[in-house]
Symmetry: C2
Subunit: 426 residues, 2 copies
């Protein structure tokens, strides 16, 4: 069945949009925030063996908000393309209310997932407060903590949960990517994984007033407060819930972070994801058992589409879950590249190492550099690097992914890529 | 809460009973098919740090069938011991109808698991035919195949499922441990993992008549017929479903088999289980995702207690499940030894390698041999061997388990154990 792919990834930032091109298949109608860079699109098509002419794009010229998705001109343009076939599969990045309205306006049949989206159901899975509620109900382990609805309760919760590890994390309810997570600690205030800033917890009441004002708004009048645990591994598992509620495991990975070059930086640099997750075997099995339960619950309450569940292994070997994201994960583009370049069992034979911080180069220079150094992905040897995400303005770093048969080889290729790009940069 | 442990393991064979002593805790009342060998019991207690005097045994003097479990004299003896405490936790190896009757006769309160057992509910999970039905309904992958109710249907099914891999396996419905599995093949008739015998599939109709007569009876008037797949890994995952239907992952492992010394033998020798399962990462994650679904279904239909789900990774990388066993798995005694000797996170730090085929020695000679060669388990270094199961008559081999920090160390210790025991044997 041909597909309508909605690149409603929450932004019109070129790199974030371009990396999703790895998901495309011939016949796709792609609704996008922007007209993709033609050179990059042709590069991706070449790597995937996809005929560029078999892809059609409809550009909104702006971030694909619900409003943009339902704009009459866009609907008109999409409907004209849909007339060619009787049945289409809808593949949105987020199942928002606007996606349900878009489907309706395009004359696509309703289904469980769209009805759930029309009621803003995925919010039940994405908010930190709802996640804690549903996770404990499904017997999925989460850090000690609570959900608070005002600054006094926030101060009390900080005092209550601080003793266990000496650090608590206060989470904005609708946060993405840890940007709304602030740590309060009795220890040294150095950057911590998964948080935007670390503050001293000397005066919880004053801090609570400031954080309440900063992290809440009219649509997000609650915060989650949790004991913060030092972790040996930050991992995720990503699944697809099919139309019938069937769950397919797609991929898992760990998050690589490093200290910023700037010692005054308040957060760690996110290097990238590494697939598959390599966890201690018992912890890994407990994690997958619990995340399967969370995803089964998501399917039971009516969510359809992609979902990832994120957690940590603590320094005492405990598995704790932090959040679910009912949308395409940051991992999905890497998964698509792995599956398409190496085959469906790629996790059994290869490691994929995402590099989000490769210094910006124009695409031709980047590809030329990889090829000249023998670092471009080779299907024959099943190893090498592809440019996953790209910002034609050069404002954002390149996003690359190294595919290699072992973790050691992935590290070696990564080092060679960094050296090679470093040489080319002025 | 003190426990009543029912060693209704389906046999009164001493080795099979003795290996379960590793599960015991102080305060347990143990209902057993036999009076355990006192030397072996004291050895196990010594390794576990359990006070021998804090264990009480009630022996039925025979296999703990449902009839034996409900014999008035046994109930009388058990009730006298139960009078000491108000509440007891019941821990049976199998949740049979007789266990529910035993609980009732002992005045223990009913619960979901016992009510389910009283209706013979666990049979729904243990029979090959029911397993296939429930597994496909739960979207758990099983080999292509079907359930047949007569010899003509059996012959037709063999012809239908033979082409895919050239071999089919015909499964007795209430089989344990592959003893009722017979392979029919178009290829060479050598022993295959998980089957009792391999027959030539030249004349399916004649073979069907013979197999139907041999593998069915009045209580088991159906057979399962499946395509047989060559596997790279045979694995299981074991779980505990708690009183509230909560699921805990306990352990996973792979099955080690080897060719018999006798080249005419029709089946492979089962060397033992190795914990944790080491599968290719993607296959391993898909396996745990599917087995979690199967176990969630078992909990939903009312089963409580231990359950293991067994499967393979085929030579093409596919994960397929063969059966569930709603009872203590062969792995549970190893799990208990690992957890008690190495701590609850033992799967993250150690490998346990079961050896079911160590030549029989009297217990003192076996322990002396291990100690003299420095091969006995040492809590200080977290490595070594324990005697897991023991037949005082010397008729059955010793069952040992090697605990070691790596798979390589486990192999080295195993080789040293085999050498050391070989020297002592006359």
């Amino acid at each position: 069945m041909p597909r309508i792919v909605l690149l409603n990834v929450g932004t019109a930032a070129p790199r974030a949009v371009h990396r999703q091109l790895w998901l495309l298949r011939e016949g796709d109608v792609v609704v996008s925030p922007l007209v993709p860079d033609e050179d990059f699109l042709r590069y991706v098509c070449g790597e995937l063996g996809v005929d560029r002419a078999a892809l059609r794009f409809v550009s909104a010229g702006e971030n694909l908000t619900d409003e943009a998705l339902t704009a009459p001109a866009l609907i008109h343009e999409v409907r004209a393309l849909l007339a060619e076939h009787d049945a289409w599969e809808l593949l949105p990045a987020h199942h928002t209310e606007g996606v349900a309205a878009f489907a309706d306006l395009c004359g696509l049949p309703g289904d469980t997932g769209l009805r759930f989206a029309a009621q803003r159901g995925p919010v039940l899975l994405n908010r930190k407060s709802h996640f804690r509620q549903l996770a404990v109900g499904a017997d999925v382990p989460v850090p000690d903590g609570t959900v608070v609805t005002g600054p006094a309760a926030l101060a009390a919760a900080v005092e209550r949960y601080l003793p266990r590890t000496g650090t608590v994390v206060v989470k904005r309810d609708d946060d993405l990517g840890g940007q709304g997570n602030v740590a309060l600690t009795l220890k040294e205030t150095r950057p911590l994984p998964g948080t935007r800033a670390t503050l001293a917890a000397r005066a919880p009441e004053a801090a609570a007033d400031v954080l309440w004002a900063e992290l809440t708004d009219a649509q997000n009048p609650v915060l989650a407060v949790e004991s913060y645990h030092r972790s040996t591994h930050s991992f995720y598992a990503e699944y697809l819930i099919g139309p019938a509620g069937d769950v397919t495991f797609l991929n898992s990975g760990t998050i690589r972070r490093r200290a910023d070059i700037d010692p005054a930086a308040s957060e760690l640099v996110w290097v990238g994801l590494e697939l598959p997750a390599e966890l201690p075997p018992g912890a890994g099995a407990r994690a997958l058992t619990a995340s399967a339960r969370m995803v089964a619950l998501a399917a039971a309450i009516g969510y359809r589409g992609h979902i990832n569940v994120d957690g940590i292994v603590t320094d005492t070997g405990e598995v704790l879950f932090n959040e679910a994201n009912a949308r395409w994960g940051g991992s999905l583009a890497l998964h698509a590249a792995g599956e398409r370049l190496l085959g469906p069992a790629y996790l059994d034979t290869h490691v994929l190492s995402g590099l989000r911080d490769v210094p910006a180069l124009p695409l031709p220079a980047a590809l030329d550099t990889l090829r000249r150094h023998g670092l471009a992905f080779s299907p024959e040897i099943g190893e090498g690097t592809v440019v996953l995400g790209y910002d034609p303005s050069g404002e954002r770093p390149l996003e690359c992914v190294v595919l290699a048969p072992t973790r050691e080889r992935a590290r070696a290729v990564e080092a060679a890529v960094r050296d090679a790009v470093g040489e080319v940069r002025p």
